[in-house]
């Protein structure tokens, strides 16, 4: 089994209200060196077999189709050793 990880983040120009809430909570807890927070999503996908170029391309397609909404989000993919 191979693990492919898809990280999804809101595009920088899109407001992230959840990240802002987390940021202000951190400040209340005294973590005052935190300048800003943005919250994203991480998908850990177990492949049935090796991470061949074909298999990774399939995950890339899945990420652009369902896991991320390209209108408001960017995603990155990496294969875990």
């Amino acid at each position: 089994m191979t693990r492919v990880v898809v990280d999804v983040m809101l595009k920088s120009e899109i407001l992230d209200p959840q990240g802002k809430a987390v940021h202000s909570a951190l400040h209340r807890l005294g973590f005052d060196r935190v300048a800003s927070v943005r919250q994203g999503k991480r998908f850990e996908i177990e492949l049935d077999g090796d991470a061949t170029p074909d298999a990774v391309a399939g995950i890339e397609q899945a990420a652009g189709t369902l896991l991320a909404n390209p209108v408001i989000e960017d995603f990155t993919i990496h294969v875990e050793a």
């Binding site: 899109i14 407001l15 209200p17 959840q18 809430a21 369902l66 896991l67 909404n69 209108v71």
Partner: protein
């Protein structure tokens, strides 16, 4: 005229939408998310609620429900479709409408009677209103902030595709106070507030919402 109302797991407002269709003089047809069959309806309402528990993103999983495949095809060839609240989110996820809906900028759920201005009365769903007409219908959402890039927003405004705008203060951080938009053809409309909850003075703040359902029946009759 037969107007389909789709029920997804987690839909809340399908019964109100069906009732609004009947009060406007149409026949409502219940459609199920798992059926790739639109039963020959003349128009479709995607109702509000929390389809698939809002998992992943609001509307993201509903967009791939079996019923959506024929809907997307027919919407592209002119079938009138109205998406209300979660339905609007599903239409954006389906790319039938541009942009997306994100969490309210103030991070609280909002529920209030909302004043709107109708900006476009050339769509299948707003033909019965006057341009500039002010209406009051309920608004209730946690993720109702309409966002799109500047080019898309300019295009929507330039082509008159903003259907309704919020008045008396922006309730959710929507860019340019957008409450609803349409596609270029005017058959697909997405609206964050709820016209189906304002069709009966006993239960709604007004009956201003009835016009959306009456408009589509008139538009269909005129074809």
């Amino acid at each position: 005229m037969r107007v389909g109302v789709i029920t997804f797991p987690g839909s809340l407002d399908d019964h109100d939408a069906a009732r609004a269709v009947r009060m406007a003089g149409g026949e409502s047809v219940a459609l199920w998310h798992g059926d790739a069959d639109l039963r020959g309806v003349d128009a479709i309402v995607l109702p509000g609620g929390f389809s698939y528990g809002d998992y992943l993103r609001c509307g993201a999983i509903a967009r791939f429900a079996p019923v959506m495949q024929p809907l997307v095809e027919l919407a592209r060839s002119g079938l009138p479709v109205l998406g209300i609240c979660n339905g609007f989110q599903i239409l954006c996820e389906s790319h039938l409408l541009p942009g997306a809906l994100i969490r309210n900028d103030h991070r609280r759920f909002v529920c209030r009677d909302q004043r709107l201005r109708i900006e476009n009365n050339e769509t299948a769903w707003t033909a019965g209103y006057e341009v500039g007409q002010e209406i009051v219908i309920p608004l209730k959402n946690g993720e109702g902030g309409y966002v799109a890039d500047v080019r898309t927003l300019d295009e929507l405004e330039g082509e008159g595709r903003v259907v309704a705008r919020y008045l008396d203060g922006n309730p959710n951080g929507s860019y340019r106070d957008v409450a609803g938009i349409t596609n270029a053809r005017g058959n697909v409309v997405g609206l964050m507030p709820h016209p189906e909850h304002a069709v009966d003075s006993l239960t709604g703040p007004t009956t201003d919402g009835l016009g959306f359902f009456a408009s589509v029946l008139t538009s269909l009759a005129g074809r």
